[in-house]
Symmetry: D2
Subunit: 92 residues, 4 copies
């Protein structure tokens, strides 16, 4: 399953980046950086979590429901493609 | 398609309720009700919009992608049921 | 209180625009417009609600807590200005 | 400033818990746990981030704008208390 393995590597890279961002927040708090700057760091963590959620849901749709690029039923493929767009719009 | 008609009536009822809630916000502003009370009214509008979004996405999944209660492929049906749960968790 | 009156007129204009957007969603549903298009209309309603919330909270901060443009205490004025930025970042 | 030190310890404990939750997501992905279960883990990370944001903003209001429990101006103290409630309602 080369696709899944590639996908997994991508998700793990995202999660490690997120852990690095959390450590930056921790260091900033320990160094008593200004509140506003810490809140900006946390805003980027929040954005990164939302990006991870969108990618996980998109993968779930493609692998366990309908892959819009592979499904032989054209209407269902289009429905799945629209669904992926909607998830991106509402969760990013 | 009686299912769609029933679904449509439910969605229209939701939207009319939402319009009523917006009118309550308008009246509260005109009557110069306290900020905090207006923000509480708007919070309920926001909750109602999120409920509408979840219902629209769930209908889209059932009608245009995979209906978990009807699909003959058991794994795909389960994938769609999980997807609906995820949408509810993340968008409510 | 000319500032409040001006602010009130701005908020009422926003709410009337929002009601118009809700009516567009209602008409789209009645006309059985495609799901994806309805979800795009609702996404813009959601964005408009978030904009309204940010404006209401900003007004509340300025009028009932600390107005960063008027407060004689420079540190407190800066704290309030940062707070307004944070609210915009997190709620838009 | 013992209050700040206590507050800082509380925030650091929250962030360490969050890092632990991110590591649980990482292990789940490596162990190829089911998508739905990973998305549930990530939902709890997202909830924890929102809790952290609310606490940071509340601390910012109390320390750099107006502390509702200490401010001699009763109206401003009430405005700040309402603001903290609003932040909790909208960001949790």
């Amino acid at each position: 399953m080369s696709h899944t393995t590639k996908e997994k590597a991508k998700l793990l890279a995202r999660i490690r980046r997120l852990k690095g961002q959390m450590e930056a927040v921790e260091r900033a708090l320990e160094a008593e950086v200004a509140c506003g700057d810490i809140l900006n760091l946390v805003a980027s963590v929040r954005g990164a979590i939302n990006g991870l959620v969108v990618e996980l849901i998109e993968d779930h749709i493609r692998m366990h429901v309908v892959d819009p690029d592979m499904d032989p039923d054209a209407e269902r493929a289009q429905g799945a493609a629209e669904l992926i767009d909607v998830v991106r719009t509402y969760l990013k």
